[in-house]
Amino acid sequence: MIVLIVVTTLTAVTGVLGAATVVGSFGRRGPARTTSDFLVASRSVTPLWNASAISSEYVSAAAFLGTAGLVLTYGADMLWLPIGAAAGYVVVLVLITGPLRRSGVYTLSDFAEWRLGSRRLRHAVSGCICFIGWFYLLPQFQGAGVTLRVVAGMPVWVGWAIVVVVVLGTVLFGGMRSITVVQAFQFWFKLLALAIPAVVLVVIWRLHGGPDPTRPYPPAFVRPTTVSVAFHVGLRVPVGTQGWVDGVVDGRRYHGEKVLLAAGRHVVAEDTRIAFPAGAAVPHAEQIPVQCGDRWARPFGRSGDHPLFGTYSMLLGMLLGTMGLPHIVVRFYTNTNGRAARRTVTLVLAMLSLFYVFPTLYGALGRVFTPELLMTGDADATILMLPGRLVPGLAGTLLTGLVAAGAFAAFVSTSCGVVVAIAGTLSQSGSGTGVRKFRIGAVIAITVPLTLVGWLGTLGAAGLVTLAFVISACSLCPLLVLGVWWRGLTPIGAGAGLVVGCGCAVAAGLTQIIAGRQPGWWGTLLGQPAIAVVPLTFLVMVVVSLLTRAHVPRGVDRAMARLHLPEELLKDRP
């Protein structure tokens, strides 16, 4: 059975990626040759292709697996994530898309140097980009590892290795033009990989009589379920439950005897198996809150620390953070002009809205059919486990293979985008440019998170993507917005803002990762610092710029004309 799953999955994965790579390398006009080809696909990608590619890069492991897991665990509170994600693109569209495309430079670092004329500022921006990109790559590797562990029982490093090989292969030999096509293709593949099993699952859910996850009881097993606990965990049992235990519970060893787990806390040693009868309440891992269905289905149903404040701060981080994600913004340069770039973003919005319906659906179904994930804490596996759980036999195996292949497409496409963005930034930072430097940059881009991912274990995976958003909202967002719309920005002001914003955001994130969640206002602020740090960064940039007014770059009027005038008025300009 497991062997069959592996074979299906890997065949599907290699088939998809192989097809995509061949289309990418040899489609259009032959293999990539010049640096310009590598970096921005020679600016000849149509809005539909580009919108598919952007959506594809955005739909990462966090969106694909994480959202479903978060919905299963925390319920309605996580529905703000898709809203913030889509709204972030509206902000990107109205504030920077057209001007950024018209500036005609390749990367965000180029933009900073071109607009403010400072080499040192350029390096500061490159630093921010690397931080954001690396924090974004880490969860991709982790997701790939989890996918292969859950689906095929393989060690996590196999997943990492596959992602590294495929990403480096695609990026090193094709550059951006190749991966634009690959990305676009993969978006539609991922959408189908989620949508087809989702339709099947909903039909089966109806056939089961449509069990309702929103009833006012703690989640319960709908059918007899045996749960294997892989690590030593503390469990919180909401309602007294019976189970047949094979292993160690609360320090006593059992060999398949019937045990009464009274309501309260219990400790389960590793490699313990507990068989629960249908209807038993699900014990929760300690870090997961126990919620009855009605509270789970209600926004702010949890009694946490300042949930409204946390939600606002998270939404602000996502709204403003999207514009600084280096792998997204670099894509606008591949549009033919500012107008096409704007239309691209509108299409992206529609595509993302469609996509995000499915992880939510899986999360809700998971609450009914795979509630043991609340006990094992492996909520990221929801999407991967549902098809096999509900659809018996070969059909279930095939659907699992399809979903897993979609998940791999997500890891690969996001990683490709981030690696190209970092490599492009790094390769232009030194003196001169060239394809060779781009390739070296790509290797550096992927090596740093790869060395960290083994270290990190499963710690803070969900928070890492949010952290990337927050860093971007606190550093690059103010730089871009002020750079595009305000003549008075000086390199010194921008630099000061970057140091303060990026510094605060990274410090808050690392504190959160190393010291764990803190209670009270302070902890809430550390967990979601955007609402405090973003205004601070804007303030620093504006005040320092006003104080150093003499350093406003001399060509600012020309730069503003270039950013805001329609292309046809500027035809004769370089």
Binding site: A76, L79, W80, P82, I83, G84, A86, A87, Y89, V90, V91, L93, V94, L95, G98, G210, D212, T214, D294, A297, R298, P299, F300, G301, L308, T311, Y312, L315, L319, R339, R342, R343, V345, T346, L349, A350, S353, Y356, V357, T360, A364, W485, D557, R558, M560, A561, H564, L565, P566, E568, L569, K571, D572, R573
Partner: protein, 123 residues
């Protein structure tokens, strides 16, 4: 015998590929004169107004929705088609708003640019 009247045959005016327009204003903008800068500033002001209006829509929706659910928890108990109201609103209801706001902004921004190009070409 009167000769047939002469007619001028012209191609249809197309919006797709505008001919390069050279006018005094284009030169002003190019040469960074005070007048050129005034033109650019006026365009920026209009564009920024459209942008901020759209941002305001986003801010109002994102700012008000959480408050509504906090202040009126009774709303969450309502079900439509078996799905709780917050899930319908947050999962399906808000996204069309974003698409609409974005489409409206793109239309306005493009019209502004077209008007500006025409204005520059005329003057």
């Amino acid at each position: 015998m009167a000769e047939p009247r002469r007619v001028v045959v012209t191609g249809p005016r197309s919006r797709g590929v505008p001919a390069p327009r050279y006018s005094p204003v284009t030169r002003d903008i190019d040469e960074q004169t005070e007048l050129g800068a005034v033109y650019v500033r006026s365009l920026m002001r209009v564009q920024l107004r459209h942008s901020l209006a759209t941002c305001a829509i986003v801010a109002i929706v994102v700012g008000v929705l959480p408050l509504v659910f906090v202040l009126a928890p009774g709303l969450s108990a309502i079900k439509a088609l078996g799905v709780p109201l917050p899930w319908l609103v947050l999962g399906l209801g808000v996204q069309p708003l974003w698409i609409g706001a974005a489409a409206r902004y793109v239309r306005r921004a493009e019209r502004t640019e077209r008007d500006f190009t025409d204005l520059v070409a005329r003057s």
